[in-house]
Structure formats: structure tokens, C-alpha cells
Amino acid sequence: MKIILPDKSVRMLESGPALVESLLRDLGFDPVEVMVVRNGTLVTEDAIAANDDEIRIIRIAHGG
């Protein structure tokens, strides 16, 4: 699984199907504070990410 973090760095992860929320928590993100794009499409935190997916995590900037 290719994970693109908010700072644009990339992390490769060998994983079976996993809840997006679990992935986020393992990586130290609160689902309330980020959005997740799976293979170019916005998904909810209770969607499933598979090993061949690209997961982009977008942090929601405060203020504005």
C-alpha cells in the first residue's frame, strides 16, 4: 500500500485489507482532522484500503 502523508512524503506499507480509520490511528492521525483520498477518490474513514491502493492523507488546516 502506498501512503502519501500530509507533508507529501511517501510510505510503503505491506498490509492486508484494513479500515482506513485503523490506518490513520496507526499513523497517528485523528480521523476528525484529516481527509482520505483512495486512488483519487474521497472516501470515508470506515472504507477499506487494500494492499494495492494508493492512500493520500490530507490534513485540514485550521483557521481561514
Binding site: 485489507p17 479500515l19 485523528d30 480521523p31 476528525v32 482532522e33 481527509m35 477518490t41 474521497l42 472516501v43 470515508t44 474513514e45 470506515d46 472504507a47 477499506i48 487494500a50 490530507i58 485540514i60 488546516a61 485550521h62 483557521g63 481561514g64
Partner: protein, 313 residues
């Protein structure tokens, strides 16, 4: 045997792929139902509280950040339902290096796209110098200093735009944080203050149409409508009590969905119980500048003296 979760949860209303999990109301929404839900809730907030009435001219306090961008897009879409009141945008350039340049550019692009009148007021124009300059050596006071100066600048800009209402992009997270902070400070008058009526006719009333829309919902709305921009956060925000309260509330909201909404409901119940009980000093005129204030001298004049701004403007 437990249910195997779907790779993509479906909309609770139409079975299309869900883009948002509304944990407070216990449902999933697709792009179209999410969009119509947000817009309907904003319209309901406006109507139920009479935030915008026929004859109004609404100026949007447009920083170019995510909240005010979403506010402009949503109000522009709702205008036909609101009696086609005139809409314009006002932007304050405080002079925050490495932050405000991007958002001001974003605000410019947006008003051009929507063809709205745009009034910009900068701190150097109004107060003689940038916020960065005023804050040298006093960065920990940033939010209180900026708040006082911004309040004045927004009022000047809204007056120049000819507005009768000033709409700000404060969202549910902002409002819940404010409720919590005012409780922590024991500041009942501020907890109960209604921004739409505290001016007693002396300031342009402020309205917050997004007060029941969460920060995440705003981000998702922008993402779905091609308006998401990865903009920086204000560099001074790290010094604020609000930052600590925000992290605490985000954790609570994550564990107990609805926490922020419940805080807002608490505020409304307290306000209802306190109705008719005077909580604040009557509004008077500042003896130095004539602006409305609760004491002899307004906060702005006190701040100007403290920062030595009188010699700069």
C-alpha cells in the same frame, strides 16, 4: 458471524458511494446528498435566526482560507432562496509574512470567478504598520492583538462596501471552542454575547451562517467542488489557548461524536435561562475615538497606546 465491511460504504439515502460519514446523525452521504445537506442546514440556520432579511447587503469577510471560501460559495448558491440580496466580499490584509500572501491571492481569484465587488483593507493603511511589526517581541499576544485590530478593520471594510451584515466563516469547531474557552475563563458575558446584536446599532451586525457546519464538513465540501487548496496555517496560532482547546475537543469529538454540537446546545440553553438578565455594561462611546465600548476607552485605543501605534498611523 460479524458483517464484513464494504470496501466503499454507500450513501444511506441513495446507495451511491459515500464521501462522508456523518457520525453525529449516524449516516453516510454521497457527493450530491452531502452537498444538499450542507446547503440546507446553512439555509435553515439563516432562516431560523433571521440572519439575512430582504433589503440586506451582505459582505463576506473573505480571508481566502477554507472557511470563508466555502461561505462565499454556499451563500452564492443560496442567494435565490434568500431574496437575491446583494453580496460582496471584504478582505483584511494584516501583513503576516509567509501566510497572508497566499490567502489574499486566493481571495482575489475567488471574487473574480464569482464577479463580486471586493473591498480590501490592510493594517498598514489603517494602523500604520503590519501585524508582524506590531508583534515583534510580543508574539504570545498575537491573537488578542490581531483580534482587536481585525475587528476594527472588518468594520471599516464593511462600511466602505455599504454592507448591512458582515458574514464570517466561523464554523462549528470554532464556535464550540469559543464556548469552552469562555467557560474556562469564567466569562459569562462573552459566552452569551450575540454577535448579531451586541453592537446595539453602532457596529454592522455579524452573522455566522456556518456555525453548525463542522470544519471537516467544510473541507469535504471544498474538496468535492474543486475548491480545496492546501493553504498554510497562521504562524501565530501556535501561541493561542485556542490551539490547546481545539486538540482537546477534536479528541473528544472523535471518541464521542456530537460533543461540539452539545456544547453549542449548552450555550443556547444557558442563554435562554439568562434571557432578560443583564450580563454586560451598557454600550458607551469611547472618549478618544467615539467607537462603541463598555468602558471609558475602547480596547482599540488602549491597544494603540500600548503598542505605540498612535505615532505610526
Amino acid at each position: 458471524m460479524g458483517t464484513v465491511p464494504s470496501a466503499t460504504p454507500r450513501c444511506s439515502l441513495c446507495n451511491e458511494p459515500a464521501v462522508f460519514h456523518d457520525r453525529v446523525r449516524g449516516r453516510h452521504l454521497c457527493r450530491d446528498h452531502f452537498t444538499s445537506d450542507i446547503e440546507a442546514r446553512v439555509l435553515d440556520t439563516i432562516r431560523s435566526r433571521n440572519l439575512i432579511v430582504p433589503g440586506d447587503h451582505v459582505a463576506i469577510a473573505l480571508s481566502g482560507g477554507k472557511d470563508s471560501t466555502a461561505l462565499l460559495m454556499i451563500l452564492a448558491r443560496l442567494l435565490p432562496s434568500l431574496g437575491d440580496v446583494p453580496l460582496s466580499a471584504v478582505t483584511i490584509d494584516e501583513g503576516i509574512h509567509g501566510y497572508r500572501e497566499d490567502t489574499v491571492r486566493s481571495a482575489d481569484d475567488l471574487v473574480k470567478r464569482f464577479g463580486l465587488p471586493h473591498t480590501t483593507v490592510s493594517f498598514p493603511d489603517l494602523f500604520g504598520d503590519t501585524l508582524d511589526a506590531f508583534l515583534e517581541g510580543r508574539e504570545t499576544e498575537a491573537c488578542s492583538v490581531c483580534g482587536i485590530l481585525r475587528r476594527k478593520a472588518l468594520n471599516v471594510a464593511a462600511e466602505r462596501a455599504g454592507a448591512t451584515k458582515l458574514a464570517t466563516g466561523h464554523n462549528l469547531d470554532d464556535e464550540a471552542q469559543s464556548v469552552f474557552m469562555n467557560v474556562l475563563r469564567g466569562d459569562l458575558p462573552r459566552l452569551l454575547r450575540d454577535p448579531g446584536s451586541d453592537s446595539q446599532g453602532m457596529f454592522i451586525p455579524r452573522i455566522k451562517p456556518l456555525m453548525f457546519v463542522s470544519e471537516k464538513e467544510i473541507a469535504v465540501y471544498l474538496m468535492l467542488h474543486g475548491a480545496w487548496a492546501d493553504l498554510p496555517e497562521c504562524p501565530y496560532a501556535v501561541h493561542a489557548l485556542r490551539g490547546e482547546v481545539r486538540r482537546m475537543l477534536a479528541t473528544l469529538e472523535s471518541k464521542h461524536p456530537g460533543t461540539m454540537l452539545h456544547l453549542m446546545e449548552s450555550r443556547e440553553k444557558i442563554a435562554m435561562w439568562c434571557a432578560g438578565t443583564p450580563q454586560e455594561e451598557p454600550v458607551r462611546e469611547c472618549r478618544q475615538c467615539g467607537d462603541p465600548c463598555s468602558g471609558e476607552v475602547c480596547q482599540l485605543c488602549q491597544l494603540k497606546k500600548r503598542l505605540g501605534m498612535i505615532h505610526r498611523s
